[in-house]
Symmetry: C4
Subunit: 275 residues, 4 copies
């Protein structure tokens, strides 16, 4: 009985075993299939033809995922810990929309959140390498968190002020119907997306938006610079060399250090001294 | 009496005290609220319904900020110095627009400049860390100031020439109604914003704009490269001591270094040598 | 007889000989010419006038390339190896479309794949330098392969989720006719291309797309950061020798280094020590 | 007589003297004024009102610049060398368009090339610093020349192939009227400009353009990475230390080197050895 649970646990949670590998491969396929169905279901042409088919398929997938979720809860040694882990919540989210769709139309399209489950793909690809790479990225992101906050606060201030100015300069007749809309325009412009659904008409407006564009074009350098620097640091790894100084207790030195910075004792014996 | 002023001073200016913290939190909330009101006021639908409400609210906020400004002036030991400090001017700006709006319509929308006051947020978040991070960015920006000037001058020259060329090639019938407009188009294109409100129609024009786009796409690398390099330098420099080693050319050492890591020469005169 | 084949081989395959150089120059010219013809052929105006001329020219070029392909097969010492090499397949592709065009209209436009043959240009320019430069890029790309995979998977997940959300929020009436279309919109926005053929109309949609833009604007930093770091590493590594010093942890040395710059330990065993 | 020429020479060519400084300041002002006139002249509204005024002004400026050009030729010790220097040609170009405008309409708008003369501004700002900064940029650009060539060739190949594919997929009815036009679209998309004047309509076309966008979004990293790396290298300056090894003739060592890589001799005397 208990061995069953353990075998299930190995199959469902351990990707490094052949059985687990096979299970995760199938799971990914099913998720992809369900996503395809949701997408096709949203295309009017197909929707009208295969409405009932799509419905039944979506319920089938939901059932499948519900069962899977149940099994995961059942066989995991610490059910609660799994339930509140990132993947646990994602797995739950994959089942919810169908239930919601009973009460709200359109809700079934939220099934698309199942896309998030595809992140399991890293489990199937050689996990470790990718995780280590992801760690580099995360370290870099964590390291640049504060700089980015500073950056984002400044940007949102810029966008608000620019937006309000444009609202005053151009005004509703030229499409800047309100300050929120103008702020939306400012973001569209500053990020160099430039839909063109709202564009300055007056010379003054065009000059100001020129300023906004140049600003956006220049400050795109900031997050990039921040991230590059952080990532380079993360990849260079520890900038310090762990090695006890024979002269004193200092055990951290610059990578290229030949002498201890504290007592000046050479860190390495010279050949002529060995002989 | 004077203790009152001092207590006020501590509450209003010192974020590191619990009272000051609370004060700044409330202040931020009020600022945000006032911003929301200004924004909603600009949306026609709401404007028509709640015009009077919005007006009274805006006056209330203005009064509040005026009082706050007065108190700051009153309780700060050096009123003038505060008045002409960055934040002093911003606080003043937060009150002006309302007065202006008595004479010019639309002026009340300028109340949006209050957004700038939100920069106080760094006071509320753990200030020091963020300031140090901001310093990194500022150091990098200062370091790249000249390079950026060179860059901007070249870009504006490019834009002017490209704009004039397009005006000659495409001309008014295709939307390039004047050289300033064409320059506006050139900026829109070079910064990869691409509204699409003005687009080349003739083959010649399309070829030239292709050139402009490739240029813009390539030289976006320049500010990024400049900034990355400067920022990396600023970050590297942070935990290093700039000091020439008397024994060799090495000029960057650990902050608490007493000997050069390269030649082992003492960085600060030793007793036995002074004797 | 055999000498003929060898001389042909030298002319066709060896760019470093004057004859080969001349041959490749002519080849490039012919390829360019054929490309121009294909392009002009697609312009209605010219098409109607010179239809027959273009046809005959295209057949002429096809014949020429077919002959060249035959000769390459004939004179290369290892025909099969050439046939399945990158350039071998490209050369074959340059001939196919014409044959296809007998069965499918429009197929002749695929002759444009001949553009790929232009990569031979690196053969004509001083080959070595460019290849070495290309190697830097490739090394950097290979090094960042995994990081980029992580990045792309995350981006596609983001795009899918954002797209579905917008479909639910905006819906068909505002142009988001289906989830695939919405995903297309999300890509257009996240990459800051911003055609403007589909734009959010509802305030909720505009807020969400603002989020998408800021995200796209910020994460454009990620691939750049990755690539910069990798490229810097690749360039640094180029003129350095990867070899652990037996005396200390230093593992990068000048190419012709005989002793470690840090601890002075010989990198290769000295006679007196071997004795 | 000759002293006159010399004094003129100093005033016109030497910015470091007060007289020269004053001259260049005035020159910049005049150039700016002439640019403003050309721009205003292109605005229909003003054109109609002040046509004659603008004409006379433009002729005045042209005369002025012609005289200046003459004086430069007259007073420079090596007239020919100046005439064929970069600035010499630019100064000539500033006069030509007016003469051309006698034969071709619109030619006077080419006077805008005078914008290039504004580069003299670096003369007026503290010249040296800016030139040194510009040198960094140029060194970086020169260093990345080949990499960029490789990059641009690949990009143009990509663009050509993508363009042709879209022409085959979408075709004239959807705005892709010819292969050149489709290539123009491909550039607009790959560079993330995205005018939206031509957009894919068919699902297949949208999928392909999604691919193009992601590609463009990713490879924008390449030039940036190249440039950042090169610039960092340029700023780090010589990575090598000039110092004769006491043991052998080698005089170039790594910056952090404490021992000679060729003979293993310590590069610097140790304290304990001095005593």
């Amino acid at each position: 009985m208990d061995t069953w649970r353990q075998r299930l646990y190995v199959i469902i949670f351990h990707t490094d075993t052949p059985a687990g590998q096979r299970f995760d491969n199938w799971l990914l396929l099913v998720i992809l299939a369900s996503l395809v169905v949701v997408m096709l279901d949203s295309v009017v042409a197909y929707q009208q033809q295969y409405a009932s088919l799509f419905d039944s398929l979506e319920w089938a997938f939901t059932l499948l995922f519900a069962v899977e979720y149940g099994l995961r809860l059942y066989c995991s040694p610490k059910p609660l810990r799994y339930a509140f882990s990132f993947f646990g919540l994602v797995d739950l989210l994959a089942v919810m929309p169908a239930i919601l769709s009973l009460f709200f139309a359109d809700a079934q399209y939220l099934m698309i959140v199942r896309a998030v489950r595809l992140i399991r793909i890293f489990r199937v690809l050689k996990l470790r390498q990718y995780l280590s790479q992801a760690n580099f990225l995360l370290t870099a992101l964590r390291g640049s968190r504060q700089k980015v906050t500073v950056f984002l606060v400044s940007v949102s201030t810029l966008v608000t002020v620019f937006g309000a100015l444009m609202y005053v300069i151009e005004g509703p007749p030229n499409g800047f119907t309100s300050i929120p809309t103008s702020i939306y325009w400012a973001v569209v412009t500053l990020t160099t997306v430039g839909y063109g659904d709202i564009t300055p008409q007056t010379p003054a407006g065009q000059m100001l938006s020129t300023l906004v564009m140049i600003t956006g074009y220049s400050i795109i350098a900031v997050p990039t610079g921040i991230f590059s620097a952080e990532l380079a640091a993360a990849m260079r790894g520890a900038d310090q060399l762990k090695r006890d100084c024979p002269g004193c207790a200092k055990d951290l030195h610059e990578l290229e250090a030949a002498f201890c910075t504290r007592c000046g004792h050479p860190l390495f014996p010279r050949q002529d001294q060995q002989r």
